[in-house]
Symmetry: C2
Subunit: 495 residues, 2 copies
Amino acid sequence: MTAADAYAALLSHHHRIAALEDAASILSWDQETCMPPAGAAQRAESRGALAAVLHGLRTDPRLPDWIAAAEAADLDEAGRADLREAARSHALSTRVPADLAEALAREASATHRVWAQAQAERDPAAFLPALDRMLSLRRQEAQALSGGGGDPYDALLDQYEPGASAAALAETFARLRAGLTALLDRIAGAPQAPQARGRFPQAAQLALARAAAEACGYDWRVGRLDLAVHPFSSGGGRDVRITTRVREDDPMECLYSTLHETGHALYELGVDEALLGRPAGGHASMGVHESQSRLWENHVGRAAAAAPAIHRMAEAHLGDMGLAGPDAFHAAANAVQPGFIRTAADEAQYDLHILLRFDLERALLSGDLPAEDLPQAWDERFEADFGRRPSNAAEGCLQDVHWSEGLIGYFPTYTLGNMGAAALMQRLREDEPALDAALGQGDFRPVLDWLRPRIHAPGRIKPVAALWTDAVGAPPDETALLAHLEAKFAPLHGL
Amino acid sequence: MTAADAYAALLSHHHRIAALEDAASILSWDQETCMPPAGAAQRAESRGALAAVLHGLRTDPRLPDWIAAAEAADLDEAGRADLREAARSHALSTRVPADLAEALAREASATHRVWAQAQAERDPAAFLPALDRMLSLRRQEAQALSGGGGDPYDALLDQYEPGASAAALAETFARLRAGLTALLDRIAGAPQAPQARGRFPQAAQLALARAAAEACGYDWRVGRLDLAVHPFSSGGGRDVRITTRVREDDPMECLYSTLHETGHALYELGVDEALLGRPAGGHASMGVHESQSRLWENHVGRAAAAAPAIHRMAEAHLGDMGLAGPDAFHAAANAVQPGFIRTAADEAQYDLHILLRFDLERALLSGDLPAEDLPQAWDERFEADFGRRPSNAAEGCLQDVHWSEGLIGYFPTYTLGNMGAAALMQRLREDEPALDAALGQGDFRPVLDWLRPRIHAPGRIKPVAALWTDAVGAPPDETALLAHLEAKFAPLHGL
């Protein structure tokens, strides 16, 4: 087999993997949006069976031979990245036995069902045994991935954020926490911004959500918007879907959830078409992914400069919101409120939610924190960080979908995303001095145009650190984020 | 390996097949109801890849050994049926090479896309080259299935209706056609029944559709209703979905399309839970399937006895329809009109639509009718049978989805279903003398209760002929259907 033939065989195999990953993505989307409730057990079987097929393809014993033979081929940067990412994928997959991979997929589906019920009934005791089983499976996975060496948490984290380590994150996060705490202390005494008043029907909110997503550049030929309990985006290639949720007394949640998911979707949709289905296609890391969602949600949707345009769009669909003008809308959209829910948290507090989860899930995984003690540990830590205590588990440890699906090591990518979004916007403003004027007129195209070649199009061609270095000079840390928060929240609170 | 172990291995393997078939069903449903338009090419890749995986599982070389070894096991009737159906599935699958199976799946998706566009533009020339490619693949499939012997059409027909032959069908159909022609000749001079008048909003029609499906026993915990260009039902086990379509000037289409698909869904939902995922699970044949859809659509939904209940339900959702009472509603729901669309055809003409397609698709497959000549052949045959000529291809040869997906040999199962439904109702009325009184009060439960043990629960335990013989004394022919049509249409037209 020539080097070129080996490379072609590798690509063909990965196209098949990508096609079945797309199928798995549709099954997952359908489960959250469309599936009849009694179909859950059956769906768990389907997802488990498909995961087993994918595991078989990802661990195909011919892959190392193809990769080794293709090293001699005349490949460009993307082709070299195909070999690097194929080798990484194969290594990660072969370390996890097929029966464990299938058990994880099946348990994720079953545990998710238990979580949804427990959340609805605010009954953590109904969820914790399932979480304990899931943690046990994830520990086995971490052990298999790392070969028993190093921090098991790092082995899981690496799946979402290649090259990251919990110890290094903990250092950056410590500096970030100090900065956040200092900012919050200064905000604490300031008066709270008035919120939108009224009842905003679901249909009108969804129409606004669609208009806002379109304004960012989202295209219904390759996407759709549906309702879900916990909003998410899913898919890749030319079918990337977003979901949102509606509270009729709070128009901000639907709008900003939608912008968040739109950011995720625009990233996937922006990957160079030539990379689709290839190992070098898709997203570079979940931290990079979250940088895109947070950028559109907070640095466009909640920017002071964009407030005239967003406020106009909101009033066009929702009518009078009881907010006197763009400044009042901006203050309401960035209000620092004593809430409990991560997804509804303002930027000043959001990362404290993440740091809480980061510490708790490390303790859960290591076993230092038994699953049964989670509700109490959550509430105590929350009170220590935020100065208030959740009144029930639905606004405490049952609020997020992640752990129910076995996502351990995923939460820190949100804060990596916030740091990355701030760094990107800092550089974008330097490159585009007229940006704020465009945002004020509702012209968000300069943002997408700037992101596309730098972040979206390369997919996984560059390692994560190189992607950041090429785009903004260095991998992001807490500095740009803290500077951004100071610039936004100091004027809002007269600091 | 013991006989019991071999049987267990066989069942485990088939459960995995069933789980992936469920996944394929969701991909197909999503394509028709949710998928963004630009996702079609990618979806074709996913469906092709999943079809290849399923083909690999269905042709697993261990299957014949398991089946042979399990013959010595102590099995009940269902267990014996597992072995019979597993052997049939393996034989059918091994005869079709993997690359042909994948090409068929991929081409079905692509051709379907071409058809939808061609239908929208009423442009048969845009569709016929794709149909020609599809026919060529189906000929290769028929050749592979039959080993080159016998009628290639029978090889395809057998996939949908085990044991059926085109020659035998042609004899029954000739007698049916004579009876239908005689009935239509007598109806031809009678005045036409007035139709519903007004504009009936989509939301109200869908609410009626949901109420009607519920009245038949359909349960939203295991189902859902969506819109599709061509209504279909899909899924199995505890997730069986239906679709419908709405014309705001004609409330009958949505209502009766929904009842039709509800009948399909109730069949799948009624299979004994102990059979789910097993070779003996699922439906006995497509003719049996269609007998269920047509029974609920025509023998319940369009029955004179049920007209008071259905009319009341329709008016509750749609308001005044311009129909004076149950008799007028019944006449409108059974009007014999000079239409062109099979799915909108009345019972008196419906099977003439099928016999037309049966003859044309046999000629297309044999090559006697080149695909490029289809529009003219369709229009000529239609004019000969119905005395009128389609004005465009959307009401002619482009009206049905079937050929675009490669379904050749499927159409006759509709008429098998009509004959079966009539035979079932004949026997049900003998067993349940109070049936009509119950239908008139909107109590359809006796129908489902009678069908469940006789038709639904057995799945594939019995061969098709035995299922019919046990339920109604013999496999159905044209006699009960012609008697039913005479009993319904003679009074409606004063014959």
